[in-house]
């Protein structure tokens, strides 16, 4: 066993140990601290891999896991978000119990599922074998569903069921695609394989017709996982019903799993003749998702749903970026994962404060935000500015980068994209203006909800990262992103 194998095993061992420990421990504080320790460990391990080892490399034998820069990058994002969500959870969960939103008996389940989800997410990104990827992605669905349903509301059950049924049914179609690929390689090289690294090396010889079909089937599944229209309906419902920190990690990492899968598939089909059609398909789906999401946002009275729809819009934009397919576009798409994840999580965390303050995130219940929750007010403003792609936000750069590349496809596409961004921006702007400016004098009946530092700091950190990256691009990040793009074989 080399060091990588040990680390890969450590991920699992640590994850399992901490999950068991959370289940055994009685106090909420211990459980929460344990949940903070796990992402920290993961961060440390992942950084160690990034610094100390030669990538890409196989882990635990050559059949199942591949560690390349993209997986490391995604794991780093995921672990950071989980860490911040865990910090945020400390007060949030306590308050949820206090207001009977959550049962104290479910605490263990909450933290166990939280840690298991992190583990599943980490392995999803490490999976080299697409079938394994598929399995782990389904697992994340299962854990997410548990986390969504943890709150005492019938609507949450509905949301979780929606989540499970839509994504799982679509994921079954993805499996059909995987079987097709497996058969195809069996036909071509004698041994069936679903290993991405292997597929990449033989992709040139794969039949474009079958690869096109296979891609479409896998696309259906992964698109559903990312909430691409028309497989998207679970996303706003689930995210709006989930507890604040869970919405944040779902939108930041779990949503990305789908487009991550599409990205991996894309790099395979990019070497076949089917790529032209697939690019059109991706752009079409991306644009449709963006349009539908943006239009829906315009009339959405629910803050968390609004943010959820915005996730759909952004995932659509990522698809468009993939569809453009140049190396520059890919660079910005990969960067977009980070920028979007952090911004979106900050928005959900801020919305969590609003939710606990007013007991609802619907527009009509929210008033006097600046008097009661001025921190949340400002973080929502900054988050909204960031998500609609205003400078100094990192999204501005990524958006501009991809938009600039979109002109290469067609200026019409650029116009459409810009119009959609206008709608999305208008939706956010109008919503924020309406929400934050509502003032009523009768504040006495609204009890003040005290927000501790534990809830503020994660939001501040996320926003700080997003805004610093919008102005300052570290050399290491550029190198990392360039390495990722070259490893993906995109030219």
């Amino acid at each position: 066993m080399n060091s990588l194998d040990i680390i890969l095993a450590l991920y699992a061992v640590l994850g399992a140990a901490i999950t068991v420990a959370t289940c055994l421990s009685k106090s909420h504080k211990t459980q929460n601290t344990l949940s903070m320790i796990l992402p920290v460990c993961y961060l440390a391990l992942t950084l160690y891999i990034l610094m100390a080892t030669q990538l890409p490399a196989y882990g635990l034998g050559s059949d199942y896991f591949l560690i390349d820069h993209l997986s490391i990058y995604e794991i780093l994002i995921a672990a950071t978000l989980f860490l911040l969500a865990a910090v945020y959870s400390r007060q949030y969960v306590k308050d949820s119990i206090f207001i009977h939103e959550m049962d104290e008996s479910n605490l263990r389940l909450y933290y166990a599922a939280f840690n298991m989800l992190l583990m599943a997410v980490v392995y999803v990104f490490l999976a080299d074998n697409l079938a394994l990827f598929w399995i782990l992605a389904e697992l994340t669905t299962a854990f997410s569903a548990i986390l969504i349903v943890i709150l005492n509301a019938p609507k949450n059950i509905g949301a979780a069921l929606k989540y499970i049924f839509i994504t799982s049914t679509c994921m079954l179609f993805a499996f059909i695609g995987l079987i097709l690929i497996f058969t195809l390689t069996e036909d071509l090289i004698g041994v069936g394989t679903l290993n991405w690294s292997m597929l990449m090396s033989v992709a040139g010889g794969l039949s474009p017709g079958i690869m096109f079909a296979a891609f479409i089937f896998t696309f259906v599944g992964f698109a559903a996982k990312s909430g691409i229209v028309p497989f998207h309906a679970w996303l706003p419902t689930a995210y709006s019903k989930a507890p604040g920190p869970i919405s944040a990690i779902l939108s930041g990492t779990v949503t990305t799993i789908g487009v991550y899968g599409i990205l991996r598939m894309y790099t395979i089909v990019a070497q076949t003749a089917a790529i032209g059609k697939i690019q059109i398909l991706l752009i079409a789906f991306g644009v449709i998702s963006m349009i539908i999401a943006a239009l829906t946002m315009l009339r959405e009275p629910n803050l968390k749903k609004l943010i959820g729809y915005s996730s759909i819009e952004h995932m659509g934009f990522v698809l468009v970026g993939l569809g453009i397919g140049t190396s520059v576009a890919m660079f910005w798409v990969v960067f977009y994962f980070l920028a979007h994840a952090f911004t979106k999580s900050s928005l959900f965390l801020s919305a969590g404060i609003i939710k606990h303050q007013y007991g609802s995130v619907r527009l009509e219940y929210i008033k006097n935000v600046f008097q009661l929750q001025s921190f949340a007010g400002w973080s929502l403003i900054l988050g909204a500015f960031s998500i609609i792609g205003m400078p100094v936000s990192a999204i501005f750069l990524a958006k501009l980068g991809i938009l600039a590349q979109s002109t290469l496809v067609s200026p019409v596409l650029t116009v459409v994209l810009l119009t959609v961004f206008l709608f999305a921006a208008a939706a956010f702007g109008v919503f924020m203006i309406k929400m934050l400016s509502r003032k009523e004098d009768s504040t006495a009946d609204v009890p003040y909800f005290h927000v501790g530092w534990g809830m503020k700091i994660p939001i501040a950190i996320l926003l700080a990262i997003v805004f610093v990256l919008g102005l300052f691009f570290p050399e290491q990040l550029t190198t990392l992103l360039n390495t990722i793009v070259s490893e993906l074989g995109v030219t």
Binding site: D103, L139, L161, T183, G209
Partner: protein, 233 residues
């Protein structure tokens, strides 16, 4: 030896299709679950037939796992749930009436056949129409399972639909290839888990929240009354 296998396979395929059609049509949940168990059995038998033909141990194992999990455990569990929920029939149909749904299924069958014939033809290993047919039936059953999901109201029925889709996928993979064992096992565990979660949640959707928690966790009520000491400002 080849001829009887082929015929047997064809007969099994038709029967699987028939069970899928029954699942689309049936209202009574108990018989739905039974039909599903029968369908799984058919798929398992098919795996056995292939095992006899090719001698791949994976297929034998698959058949065993199938019989244990899908013919026995899941239907049994679902039957329990159905008894507890005390819902006997799923009367409402959405979007498509059973007859229309069957007609749509026929069209789907046709489309899948049209789409897959050229694809399968590209693969060198499959020169018989049996594979094409098998692949078509597998994918069609996936679609038919989906029809069940969106035409039915009850979550339990939806779960049956989802399980049907799974059977379709397995059928499809049986005809085309054999996946590594580990993957197969993992997939089945995975799906079972999702099914369990969905079924458990089915409780919630049909009962009030207190009942739900009471049913799931008999101790939750006592703990709920305990309040945290912290006071918020």
């Amino acid at each position: 030896m080849i001829l009887p296998t082929e015929q047997l396979t064809q007969i099994l395929m038709v029967m699987v299709l028939a069970t899928a059609a029954i699942i689309i049509m049936k209202r009574d949940i108990r018989s739905l679950i039974k039909t599903y168990a029968f369908q799984s059995l058919l798929v398992a038998v098919m795996a056995l037939v292939f095992y006899i033909e090719t001698g791949a141990v994976t297929l034998l194992l698959l058949a065993v796992v199938f019989i244990i999990s899908k013919v026995w455990i899941i239907p049994h569990f679902m039957g329990k749930v159905q008894q507890k929920l005390n819902i006997k029939r799923d009367i409402k149909f959405h979007f498509l009436s059973p007859i229309t749904a069957l007609i749509v299924s026929l069209f789907i069958l046709l489309f899948v056949y049209l789409a897959f014939t050229p694809l399968i033809a590209e693969l060198n290993r499959f020169n018989s129409t049996l594979f094409t047919l098998g692949a078509t039936v597998g994918v069609s059953i996936v679609f038919m399972g989906m029809i069940v999901i969106f035409t039915r109201k009850q979550t339990l029925t939806n779960v049956v639909g989802y399980l049907t889709m799974e059977n379709g996928v397995v059928l499809f993979s049986l005809f085309l290839t054999e996946l590594p064992m580990l993957i197969e096992i993992l997939i089945i565990i995975d799906l079972i888990m999702l099914t369990l979660i969905a079924t458990v949640l089915a409780f919630g959707i049909d009962s009030t929240i207190e009942e739900f928690h009471a049913r799931l966790n008999p101790f939750s009520r006592e703990q709920q009354t305990k309040k945290p000491e912290e006071t918020t400002q």
